[in-house]
């Protein structure tokens, strides 16, 4: 499947069809999810209405982690099989992941305030998401840190792999650190056993976020491909302006099919 999608022209055709579907589907699913989360779901016996923040916080946390894994897999494909489209997928997905991570942190902080009286609670999971957020920022800064976008992409792929290897280590060390310094709050931040009426909105919102990710990814990848075409056209128009001194035995005009 992967190699079939490798051809950018085919990708553009497929994504042109898939994009509207993804976009409308994500809007519909998120709308349903919001209705379920804000209206249909019952308040929690302990936390009352505040539990509704969970329907945004938890799906965002899932997306934050899964998108980083997506970036890592795309980077591995880009490095191992020299797959140009995979590099563009990784580069386009990272900002979306960073946005979801930020949403997760902000909603977590807003949820922590009424529950534990502090805007930021150093809970193991929330702290790991914070470190993940810095991994995202590091990747995005590195990819855009070079003048030559190709160079940034390849180096970013290596960083994504280094990051994904470190993720479980960071998660383990933060949990270890958390057990050492038990934070002031007594109520464990863990999710209570979810009643079905609470689980459904959670899953619907998660599906909505996934479709939103897919739609955004396709838009950003198409933008990246267009920008590459623009750069190539500018490079060629600059090249054609350069005087060709040895035009008598001109090199055959076949485009060089390059690895």
């Amino acid at each position: 499947m992967l190699t079939r999608l490798a051809n950018p022209a085919r990708f553009m055709r497929i994504s042109a069809v898939a994009l509207p579907w993804c976009a409308w589907a994500s809007c519909a699913v998120i709308a349903v999810g919001l209705y379920l989360a804000l209206i249909a779901a019952p308040p929690d016996y302990q936390q009352g209405e505040a539990v509704r923040i969970m329907y945004v916080h938890v799906p965002a946390a899932w997306m934050a982690l899964n998108i980083y894994l997506f970036v890592a897999v795309a980077s591995a494909v880009a490095l191992v099989w020299r797959h140009p489209l995979a590099e563009i997928a990784a580069r386009s997905a990272a900002p979306i992941g960073a946005a979801f991570t930020f949403v997760c942190l902000a909603s977590g902080s807003l949820w922590g305030r009424p529950m534990w009286g502090t805007w930021w609670v150093w809970d193991a999971r929330l702290t790991s998401v914070l470190v993940l957020f810095f991994l995202y920022l590091g990747y995005i800064a590195l990819v855009n840190g070079f003048d030559d976008p190709g160079r940034g992409g390849r180096v970013g792929s290596i960083l994504a792999l280094v990051g994904v290897v470190n993720l479980p280590i960071i998660k383990f060390s933060v949990d270890w650190w958390n057990t050492l310094h038990q934070p002031a709050s007594v109520l464990r931040f863990g999710k209570p056993t979810i009643a079905l009426s609470m689980l459904v909105p959670l899953l619907v919102m998660a599906l909505g976020f996934m479709l939103l990710f897919a739609a955004l990814l396709l838009v950003r990848m198409r933008t990246e491909l267009n920008e590459r075409k623009i750069r190539a056209l500018r490079l060629n128009s600059a090249a054609s302006v350069r005087p060709k001194r040895r035009s008598e035995h001109g090199v055959p005009a076949r485009p060089a099919v390059l690895r």
Binding site: L34, L38, P43, G48, E49, A50, R52, I53, V56, H57, A60, P95, I96, A99, F100, F102, V103, A106, S107, L110, W111, R113, P114, L212, L216, V219, R220, R222, T223, N226, E227, K229, I230, L233, R234, N236, S237
Partner: protein
């Protein structure tokens, strides 16, 4: 109706959470869509310049 918006006293936390999510994700959607439209427009303009020659 207003009781609903009070969110059992937690309105000041629940609504900002959803508003923030909407602004961040919505902002990213608008920004990406805007850049997408720009890239299409530039590409067509460049292709018109190159092809008629």
């Amino acid at each position: 109706m207003s009781a609903y918006f009070a969110m059992g006293g937690y309105a000041v936390f629940v609504w900002p959470a959803y508003a923030l999510t909407a602004t961040v994700l919505g902002g990213l959607v608008l920004y990406s869509w805007q850049r997408y439209r720009d890239s299409i427009r530039n590409l067509e303009r460049l292709q018109r310049q190159v092809s008629p020659r």
